[in-house]
Symmetry: C2
Subunit: 185 residues, 2 copies
DNA sequence: GGGCCGATGTATCGGACCGATACATCGCTA
DNA sequence: TAGCGATGTATCGGTCCGATACATCGGCCC
């Protein structure tokens, strides 16, 4: 998941870790909290080892005269490689059922602008189906067992039902739009 | 987090792992997906080692005549201990900022029926503050950088804003209710 | 001038939690 | 009677988080 997000951002422009995290927090803000450094830096190293990104060395030392006693560790700027771009497209296209899960869906959606139309539709419809099932779960609980639940659990179920319902409608809209643009374009 | 959820459920009645997971899926359905066995069973063992739960042995072998060749491993029913109940109350009462986070908030809320009024209010207000901040974030992005975002990212931000807005209003309602009942009761 | 603080920046470690997998039993139905 | 889906316990590898550490830089107040 992080792989996709990081490759996607670096695809737009080279960046160092800190910046990456901030941009990610904005881009995925609606979906999940900012990712932690405990995930980010190890992942960056892994991506680098895999050859999908490289260090692009921030303005390489024109102040080499400065004694390296306090080994001045500056920012590390990463950029995506050609292999990285391939890998990115691969991750975008090869969508399994995971793509409908809460976290993965958000990341995929965030890069829809770079995703093929049919893949977009497949993801949106899969997601819709999933949320519909979730909604059905809430309905059943509320219909069959409402009297056995305490007030707060009940409230949580109702809130969940409402949220699911709204997400389904949101997805319907997006799907309709996608289909329309698909025909017109 | 799991500790709280499991102790809470076992506080209501003894249960075995599988059942625990199902009940949890219902109780927390609005918040998070069902917890995995890879989390559940290790946690059960941990809670048992800590002395907070014990095995309550499903109707202890009145069929001891059956040869134990196929070491018939039946269901393992767990029940909460006195120490476990103390621990549960402790977890309910000692609320730090984690309790406002997405996952933790849901679990805390699910056991509000067993939570003191002032603690309930503190959690609800903390949560509201947190979501208000999130909402503010969306507003700022939309106001300051909308033209620089692609259509999908924009859509995600708008959806996030709306969801945050609705959650704040939901929390307002709950808080108002809590205050009213507090005075009346 | 000097000290402090918050933002910027890289990095690690332990632990929480998940997804896949394995394996066994039970009751139903084809 | 064979197969299948639900029930049930359990482990393993891997992803990701939260806390923590440490260093620099700019601005602010005294």
């Amino acid at each position: 998941m992080l792989d996709l997000a990081i490759l996607g951002l670096l695809h737009e422009s080279p960046m160092h870790g800190y910046e990456l995290r901030k941009q990610l927090a904005v881009k995925l803000g609606a979906i999940k909290a900012a990712i932690s450094y405990g995930s980010l830096y190890p992942t960056l190293r892994r991506l680098q080892t895999a050859g999908w990104i490289t260090e692009a060395g921030e303005t390489p030392a024109d102040d080499a005269a400065v004694p390296p006693l306090t080994s001045r560790r500056g920012r590390v700027v990463y950029k995506i490689t050609a292999e990285g771009k391939e890998r990115f497209q691969d991750l975008l296209d090869r969508v399994g059922p995971e793509a409908y899960e809460d976290s993965a869906f958000g990341v995929h959606f965030a890069f829809f602008a770079r995703t093929a139309v049919d893949v977009r539709l497949r993801i949106l419809e899969g997601r819709r189906r999933k949320i519909e099932e979730r909604r059905e779960g809430f309905r059943e609980v509320l219909a069959r067992a409402a009297e056995r639940l305490d007030a707060y659990t009940l409230e949580l179920q109702k809130h969940g039902l409402e949220a699911a319902d709204r997400e389904v409608r949101w997805l319907e809209e997006l799907i309709a739009n996608e289909r329309k643009n698909n025909k017109e374009g």
